[in-house]
Amino acid sequence: MKRVIIDILLIILFFVLQTTVFPMLKFMNIIPNVLIILVSCAGFMQGDRAGLFVGFACGFLMDICSFEIFGFYSILFMFIGYLNGLFHNFFYLKDLKIPAIMITSSDLVCCLATYFFLFLLRSRFDFGFYFVNIILPEMLFTLLISVIIYPFLWLIEAYIFKKKNAESS
């Protein structure tokens, strides 16, 4: 129950950050994708089930505030969260390499899907341009921000873990 409440608060916090604070901090006109950090972390920290729900909720908010086709981001983020959750068994709190790889590849998948479904299908064929100018900077920027955000999520996770162990024993 506590986990659900914390997850909901985190989703709202990250969404507000994504839509208000980060657009002000944008560097080279690129906004980092902090929601994907949350979805990816929820997946491999808490398992596929949590990743799925957090992903769906984040995508749902994205859908309301961004694009005409309702449900596109919901389904995309949900699958990203779920797939990240499949790597839950490889997750160790102290290891930083795997989260970095997971977050970056999640962002890449998200960008590629956006490009493919929402741009390529409207005959915007210049993939090189979009890759160099949008996808690559967004990935790097997201990775950079995740270095700051990951420890924060890590602390919450460690705190809840401790509580959980204490309750069950």
């Binding site: 994504q18 929601l35 089930r49 769906f56 309301i64 505030c65 596109f72 100018n133 967004e138």
Partner: protein, 288 residues
């Protein structure tokens, strides 16, 4: 985790795979509803107006204050210099203005004579604050702090700094989403102010890197159009009121089919830092 290894006292949970299937199904149905049948999803908008919009409002107000404070310190010196220069200019302009006012008075009476007094300064407008930018790098939409309870409707035109910003595409109780004209999916039917030649202005993510939006479908016979001409919204557009300034032509070339001309337009609004916008509370369809 597989449901088979659950402890006996644990409550039964629907396996994750089924949840994945159910939620995918819901998403696909929603996509079909909005994309194929074009049904607006009102109830979901309300979820956001209750949860996220108040927070966004708070954060943007604080952010705006901090940002403006920072900018203020930086620009205060520049402004003193500028002020001196401008004061001189004001004196000149005051004189010019009084002359122009006299002419305007004359013009108004003449226009009244012809019943042509509908210019876009006459449209009823209301101010609104931008509370949230687009959620990513692919689209240029933003959220403003007025919604259906302030009389906002889908299709209303949005202005800033004297130029067209976009139109409202979705309305909640206390927020509305604006699709800006630089968005990759946006198309605006426009005309060249001097010659009344029609053209189609499309937002483009790839040219916006250099500060341009694109235009096309300008007739090849429009030989009087030159670079620098002003482009305004056309009177044949479905959603945009006529005569709103969009930008200036900055580059043009003949298409390979030798039937039409396309090129770039510099928008007259600076889309980098929009914080206040004006919404025209009159719909194009009401005019007819």
């Amino acid at each position: 985790m597989s449901p088979l290894v659950r402890k006996p006292e644990e409550k039964y949970k629907l396996p994750t795979k089924y949840w994945l299937l159910i939620l995918s199904g819901i998403s696909v149905i929603l996509m079909l509803l909005t994309f194929v049948f074009d049904i607006p999803l009102k109830p979901f908008n309300e979820v956001v107006s209750v949860t996220v919009v108040p927070l966004q409002k708070g954060v943007s107000i604080v952010g705006e204050k901090l940002y403006s404070r920072k900018e203020m310190m930086k620009e205060i010196n520049e402004l003193v210099d500028k002020n001196n220069k401008l004061m001189k200019e004001v004196e000149d302009l005051k004189y010019e203005n009084s002359e122009l006012l006299q002419e305007k008075y004359k013009l108004n009476s003449l226009l009244k004579l012809y019943e042509l007094d509908q210019t876009y300064s006459d449209y009823p407008k209301t101010g609104a604050t931008v509370i949230s930018a687009s959620t990513g790098n692919w689209f240029s939409t933003f959220i403003i702090d007025k919604g259906s309870k302030d009389g906002m409707k889908v299709g209303m035109n949005v202005l800033a700094g004297g130029g067209l910003v976009g139109r409202i595409t979705e309305v909640g109780t206390n927020w509305s989403r604006v699709l800006s004209i630089i968005d990759d999916t946006s198309n605006v039917s426009c005309m060249v102010l001097t010659t009344n030649d029609h053209l189609m202005v499309s937002g483009s993510l790839s040219t916006m890197e250099n500060g341009y939006i694109t235009f096309n479908q300008l007739s090849e016979n429009a030989t009087d159009v030159v670079v620098g001409d002003k482009v305004v919204t056309s009177n044949i557009s479905d959603v945009y009121l006529p005569g709103i300034q969009v930008g200036n032509i900055s580059y043009m070339e003949k298409d390979s089919n030798h039937l039409s001309i396309s090129g770039y337009i510099t928008p007259s609004v600076n889309f980098e830092h929009i914080s206040e916008v004006l919404v025209i509370t009159e719909l194009k369809t009401e005019l007819e």
